[in-house]
Amino acid sequence: MDLGKKLRRIRIQPATTPIPKKEPVREPVVPTEEPVKTR
């Protein structure tokens, strides 16, 4: 990949990271009600 002539060097220290935050893992919902007993 020819990028042509080098122009300059830039040093970049981003104030905020460009990497997206991970979505929090959702805990499985545990049913709180007693299951209906069937005969």
Partner: protein, 154 residues
């Protein structure tokens, strides 16, 4: 002028300092690793991980993948991105964040750190694989006509 200010002025002369990442355009191959699609660099077997900055590493002298590599490549314009897409037969194009030590060239950049910003899949890409990549990297994909429209999922 003391030594510290001399050094600072020399550094300012030699390079620019910024606090905002640069956005470039680049291509990837999409490779299945243990049934999971990952972005892979075009000329090196380097896999881009989700939620981790891709960090440039110097090649070892005995590295079998010898090539002219001085950082993560990206181009500046969509026309050059189309050229990359065609010549490397990319399965994925997109925008990429670049930071750290970034060398600017006439037509692009070579950066120390990188992370994908937006994905532009090739028209031949499976929409389900694209959705997996979106989720894994935490970014969105958009089908662009320059790389083939592809199948849209609504």
């Amino acid at each position: 002028m003391n030594l510290l200010s001399q050094l600072r002025s020399r550094l300012r002369r030699d390079s620019d300092f910024r606090s905002e990442s640069i956005v470039g355009l680049r291509g990837w191959r999409v490779v299945l690793v243990e049934c999971k699609p990952l972005l892979c660099s075009l000329t090196l077997p380097f896999f881009w991980m989700g939620h981790e900055a891709a960090k440039f590493r110097e090649l070892e002298p005995d590295d079998i993948f010898q090539c002219d590599n001085r950082g993560f490549h990206a181009v500046k314009t969509i026309d050059d991105a189309v050229k990359v897409f065609k010549s490397y037969r990319c399965s994925m194009m997109g925008e990429v964040w670049l930071w750290g030590r970034v060398d600017e060239y006439e037509y692009g950049y070579m950066a120390e750190f990188a992370y994908p910003k937006t994905l532009w899949p090739a028209g031949t890409m499976d929409p389900l694989v694209v959705m997996e990549l979106e989720e894994y990297y935490g970014i969105s994909a958009d089908w662009k006509s320059e790389f083939g429209e592809g199948s849209r999922v609504s």
